[in-house]
């Protein structure tokens, strides 16, 4: 009787472990290396406060650059994770910029009431900036190294505050 109970406990533990493995696999952070690390196309655009951000001015820092829109469900879904990541990275010489595509300040202002974020929200009103980038759908996010090269790309939302993702981003600071 005892040995059967023991076996049931082992089975239960095994099931929990297997489930954990499956969940861990499904949530595995996925940032994909961009072949040949192309140079990031430069731009100068305003944020919601009228401050102009020039990408090349951030040379020497790691930049997380996200293209998004308020009506895009996965964009909305990943915003809180981006904000959490930003709160962890902002004092580490890492920059986060989210470029809104084709919308006005009012739409974004309304959006931030439900999804408050502290990193800069840039306005690509005429979708001129996004056309210089290899983007076909929203959201798409790039991670740019301190030399201004695109190292990682993610199409669709991600858990930006997942330890594996943060580790990859931080590792770029010291990457040759």
């Amino acid at each position: 009787m005892i040995s059967k109970r023991l076996l049931q406990v082992v089975i239960a533990l095994w099931a929990v472990f297997a489930l954990h493995e499956v969940i861990a696999q499904q949530q595995e952070p996925l940032l994909h290396e961009v072949p040949e690390r192309p140079a990031a196309p430069d731009f100068s655009i305003e944020d919601m406060d009228g401050v102009v951000h020039t990408l090349s001015a951030y040379r020497g820092k790691v930049v997380i650059l996200n293209f998004w829109a308020t009506w895009c469900p996965p964009c909305r879904e990943e915003m809180p994770a981006m904000e959490r990541a930003w709160q962890m990275l902002r004092r580490e010489d890492i920059v986060m910029l989210a470029v809104n595509v084709g919308e006005d300040e009012d739409s974004i202002f309304e959006f931030t009431a439900s999804y408050p974020v502290e990193f800069p929200l840039l306005l690509d009103r005429e979708s001129a900036v996004i056309r210089d980038w290899p983007v076909r759908g929203l959201p798409t996010t790039f991670v740019i190294d301190p030399q201004g090269k695109i190292v990682y790309r993610a199409i669709g939302g991600r858990d930006w505050d997942a330890p594996g993702v943060l580790q990859k981003i931080r590792a770029l600071k010291s990457r040759p």
Partner: protein, 204 residues
């Protein structure tokens, strides 16, 4: 110590398979159902490392969406009544399995009217009643649609609308394909129904 029974081993195996998803996958690549929150129907392909899902959009939803983004009544009507679905395509393969690419222009719709192609980003302007479209509206349409061509690394996905050029309530089969490396894979969704053009009565 008692010997472990065959039933126990079978249960153990079943639990492991269930957890790993193998049992669910064995029921077939296509899943259909109703979204509980909206009552709208969906059709989903989940096999060979790819998840592709179509969820009905009521024409009224699509009208409201595009009118709010600067389309005039006629063009919003033209889009809304051409069978627009909310769509999601995802590469769900393991990391080492590589990227998949799609080209919506190669996908085929089979309906009572014969074989047709999807209305992709590049083709929507041909369907506008008024060729003059506000720039903000055109930008919203372009980025709201599933990309015509895209490459998805494992874990990558897009959401977006897809247009089928059929009247509300019509039924069609969709044959779709994707490439992984040099190999072309085929998928299908059968008896997909364009959402009817209904105007629900306001709740009392």
């Amino acid at each position: 110590m008692k010997p472990v029974s065959t039933v126990l081993i079978q249960r153990l195996l079943f639990i492991t398979l269930l957890i790993s998803g193998t049992v669910a996958a064995a029921t077939g690549p296509v899943n259909t159902g109703v979204v509980p929150e909206t009552g709208l129907r969906f059709w989903e392909w989940n096999a060979r490392g790819v998840l592709f899902r179509l969820t009905q959009r009521l024409p009224d939803q699509t009208r409201a969406y595009f009118m709010a983004r600067g389309f005039d009544n006629e063009n919003a009507e033209s889009i809304a009544t051409r069978c627009v679905f909310q769509s999601m395509f995802k590469n769900i393969a393991e990391q080492g399995d590589g990227a998949v690419s799609i080209d919506l222009d190669t996908w085929r719709i089979h309906s009572a009217g014969g074989e047709t192609r999807m209305i992709t980003r590049e083709k929507w302007p041909e369907n506008f009643v008024n060729p003059e479209v506000a720039k903000a509206a055109a930008i919203a349409l372009e980025w709201s649609l599933l990309p015509t061509r895209q490459v998805y690394a494992p874990g990558d996905y897009n959401w977006g609308m897809t247009g089928y050029g059929l009247k509300p309530g019509k039924v069609f089969d969709l044959d779709f394909s994707w490439k992984r490396g040099d190999k072309v894979f085929q998928g299908y969704l059968k008896s997909v129904e364009c959402a009817p053009d209904i105007h629900p009565d306001p709740q009392p």
